[in-house]
């Protein structure tokens, strides 16, 4: 075992970006673009086609699963196109390829450079793009298939609406990732935001879903403002919004940064990545804008899996990775990214520990893992961050879909105190196994993909002399993550068999066909005792609804994907891709000796595997002891009551409650304050401005209106007066 680990570690060392060696891919040539394969057009094209076809279905009031099959087919085609394009792109490593689809915006107001503005509908294909598109299209295909069963209760208008927004989302996401200019990126950015809004508010009759959708929309707008300002500043500074031209124009600054003369770079150039960061934090749910993501779980679970776990929320990571050259030209941008990421990771992990709604726990874990990714970017292991994005996409989708299956089967039940031993029930084995693999990944269990990707970030943090403290924060968070992950697994999926159906039973009392839609309650406090009793009575003839073939197939595929995601690491696939793209980390000359951080005197790259494996194991053991050992059948609060028996850990367990309430407070009060401030700002500032802007023309209009007396002579007088005055002005000017 130890031998194997050290072997892996040595391979990792050779492959990880900071290590110089043969494994390092060809350095990217920024600012040069060669003609790319036309098949790339199919990647955004097919989802758009799907959206159009589904819209036609909606117009034709189709009430079958046709929209699902259309979407799955088109997305599978897009995935195939992505594979094809990927092969073409890696064929020419380090060189970006461009495909111009159609002319879009061309404005010019002069001949000089900077006096024109061009943004085509063009694609920018490099290895970073293709990495993203591979997992976006692949996961989207699988999740669309999953949703064909999951959403089946809503056949008809709702089903069509779901798949329309779904396909539109994939189209927008591919615009965001594949666009060759910032305007197209922004279009995609707003597009995914819109689709996210539509899908969170899918159950639009539920006030909480509508509120969540609104919250997501508003929080994202704050971020988008930053992004928009960043784009404008980019245009002003570089005279273009095309990546190739920006990178070309930024090359001298990058050289300056590489020579350690970062102070000589103009301040406004350094400001650009900071503004981008604001946008990235909004979209990727980082402090202080993260609050929308947990609420976004009001949407259907496939949406949570695809948009709010695997793809859309990583758009911020993509943005930072894409513009890493600019980030490296800024003194403040990367530290902001690193520290905010680490802070979010810790905060979200602690909140996640205190939740009872398993989908919410997964949401907080997503926020936390996104924090990891940003921290990875901040400490300059873009390869580690991208790899974490990649592995996270698989295992988090697995976890969400597993939770979704549970919710689907138990009439919306998500409270971990009301479910137990689900994996042992008839027909739930596959889900249980998938959840186990997902949880192991999330907890960073050795040899899993999540383990390797997390370690790349941790090791790099410790390797950097300035980020030692950040490394400790992340390490502590890793332990918490392992604990809360397995808290879910031990309580819900194994142990004595018990279940209590969710509150959606009444809606379907003819048969026990619970559905995944509305799963209203926030943190498990929601059930009044009387209602719980009624629910229990109703549960007598309730039978869990085991997942069908579509869900099972997708779960199996995703599980296999999560396991296999560990494999690319061994051949340093992702780091290679990242190194060949604009996200490559430049070497910074440090005037002499290369400062290198250590972990108690050891090289962090060598020892971090052992350390994080131990930390993860400790977390899992804690969960095991607290939530599995001695849990006797009833999975409700009894486990908590048993806690004092396990002596030294009791106080910590009590603290858990404290943390829960504390973070509830911390989340809600600022939210309330923010919303009130926003409301007030809206009332006073926005409405006031609008009123003022409306008032002035109105007042002018009322004044002028008196001249429109309706009298012929009055009009003649006005006309002659006007001619006279204007002719007099002309005479004066001529004089």
């Amino acid at each position: 075992m130890t031998h194997l680990l050290s072997h892996l570690a040595s391979v990792a060392l050779a492959a990880s970006p900071p290590a110089e060696g043969a494994a390092r891919a060809a350095a990217p040539v920024l600012g040069r673009v060669v003609e790319g394969p036309w098949t790339a057009v199919l990647i955004p094209g097919l989802p758009l086609l799907a959206a159009v076809l589904v819209a036609l279905c909606a117009a034709g009031r189709v009430r079958s699963k046709l929209p699902a099959w259309i979407t799955v087919g088109c997305l599978a085609g897009a995935f195939a196109a992505a594979v094809q394009t990927y092969l073409a792109v890696v064929h020419q490593p380090g060189l970006a390829q461009g495909v111009r689809v159609l002319e879009w915006i061309h404005l010019s107001w002069g001949e000089k450079p900077g006096q024109s503005f061009a943004a085509d509908f063009g694609l920018y294909l490099d290895s970073l793009t293709m990495l993203w598109m591979l997992f976006v299209t692949g996961l989207a295909t699988l999740i669309a298939l999953y949703a064909s069963e999951y959403m089946a209760h809503d056949l008809g208008a709702g089903y069509n609406r779901f798949y329309f927004a779904f396909a539109l989302f994939v189209f927008s996401m591919s615009c965001l990732v594949m666009g060759d200019n910032l305007i197209l990126l922004y279009l995609g950015w707003e597009g995914v935001g819109l689709c996210s809004y539509l899908l969170i508010g899918y159950f639009y009759k539920k006030p909480s879903a509508v509120a969540a959708a609104k919250k997501a929309f508003i929080m994202n707008r704050i971020g988008d403002l930053g992004l928009a300002l960043g784009i404008m500043l980019t245009f002003v500074q570089f005279g273009s919004v095309r990546y190739a031209e920006i990178f070309e124009a930024a090359a001298p600054y990058l050289t300056l940064a590489g020579e350690g003369r970062i102070g000589e770079i103009p301040l406004l150039i350094q400001l650009i990545p900071v503004l981008f960061t604001v946008g990235a934090f909004g979209k990727s749910a980082q402090l202080p804008l993260y609050v929308w993501l947990p609420d976004a779980m009001e949407g259907p679970t496939p949406v949570s899996a695809l948009i709010h776990a695997a793809t859309m929320v990583t758009a911020g990571v993509y943005l930072v990775a894409r513009f890493l050259p600019l980030y490296q030209c800024s003194t403040w941008a990367l530290p902001i990214v690193a520290w905010t990421g680490a802070g979010t990771a810790l905060l979200a992990a602690t909140i996640g520990m205190a939740q009872f709604d398993i989908k919410r726990i997964m949401a907080y874990s997503t926020v936390s893992q996104l924090g990891y990714m940003f921290a990875g970017l901040g400490v300059l292991t873009s390869a580690g961050a991208a790899y974490h994005v990649f592995t996270h996409a698989f295992f988090k989708a697995t976890l969400f879909l597993g939770c979704g299956a549970v919710m689907h089967g138990f009439a919306g039940q998500l409270d971990l105190r009301k479910l137990s031993g689900v994996a042992f029930m008839k027909g739930w084995g596959i889900v249980g196994l998938a959840m186990l693999v997902g949880c192991l990944n999330l907890a960073g269990f050795p040899f899993t993909a999540g383990f390797f990707s997390k370690d790349m970030i941790l090791a790099e943090a410790f390797a950097s002399p300035t980020y030692q403290a950040l490394g400790w924060v992340l390490l502590f968070t890793a332990g918490l993550t392992a604990y809360y992950t397995f808290r879910v697994f031990f309580r819900v999926f194994i142990g004595p068999k018990f279940y209590e159906p969710g509150d959606e039973l009444h809606a379907h009392d003819d048969h026990g066909h619970g559905h995944g839609g509305a799963h209203g309650h926030g943190d498990g406090h929601g059930h009044a005792p009387a209602k719980a009793k009624a629910t229990a009575d109703a549960a007598h003839d309730f039978h869990p609804h085991a997942p069908g073939w579509a869900i099972n197939v997708v779960m199996v595929l995703l599980t296999v994907g999560s396991i296999l995601a560990a494999y690319p690491y061994l051949i340093s696939w992702v780091p290679g891709l990242i190194d060949a793209s604009s996200a490559r980390v430049i070497e910074v000359a440090h005037g002499g000796e290369h400062a290198h951080g250590t972990f108690f005197g050891y090289d962090p790259h060598a020892v971090m595997y052992y350390v994080s494996a131990i930390v993860g194991a400790v977390g899992i053991i804690f969960a095991f002891v607290l939530h599995f050992v001695g849990r006797t059948g009833a999975a409700t609060a009894k486990a908590d009551a048993l806690l004092p028996v396990f002596g030294p850990l009791a106080r910590w367990a009590q603290n858990k409650w404290y943390v829960d309430e504390f973070y509830n407070f911390l989340v809600r009060v600022p939210l309330l304050v923010i919303s009130h401030v926003l409301h007030l700002a809206d009332k006073l500032l926005v409405d006031g401005l609008v009123d003022l802007a409306g008032f002035m023309p109105q007042a002018a209009g009322r004044g002028l209106r008196r001249q429109q007396t309706g009298a012929l002579n009055g009009y003649a007088f006005g006309m002659v007066l006007g001619v006279g005055v204007i002719a007099a002005i002309g005479a004066v000017l001529l004089w």
Partner: protein, 120 residues
């Protein structure tokens, strides 16, 4: 009607020999005065027929200026123009007559100010 000094002031330009003592400026003054009279009349009179006659006055003011310029430039274009101006004036006269008859039948008055339902 206008002081002789002003006429002399305006007559400072070259005087074509065959225009005799009457210069272009004299014609233009007459024309301008007629035009302004038309404008003023149009503004202050409320009788529709008088108002129309005032516009005719303005048209004919232009006609006088045209003919004077035509003579000044020694070509016929201005005179040709005048014939067309007369034509248009006649067309407008026909229209004005028709309109005025129509209006008079509706309200039994020729007062332009009687028509002020539309305003604001």
């Amino acid at each position: 009607m206008i002081g002789g000094t002003l006429v002399t002031l305006l007559a400072q330009g070259p005087i074509p020999a065959d225009m005799g003592g009457v210069t272009l400026a004299h014609y233009l003054v007459v024309s301008a005065v007629m035009f302004v009279l038309g404008l003023v009349g149009f503004m202050v009179r409320r009788n529709l027929i008088i108002m129309f006659l005032c516009t005719e006055l303005m048209f004919q003011a232009a006609g006088i200026a045209l003919i004077a310029f035509s003579r000044f430039h020694m070509n016929h274009t201005g005179q040709t123009f005048v014939i067309f101006v007369l034509t248009v004036a006649a067309a407008e006269a026909a229209m004005a007559l028709a309109l005025v008859v129509l209006l008079f039948r509706r309200k039994e008055t020729l007062d332009g100010a009687a028509w002020r339902e539309l305003k604001g």
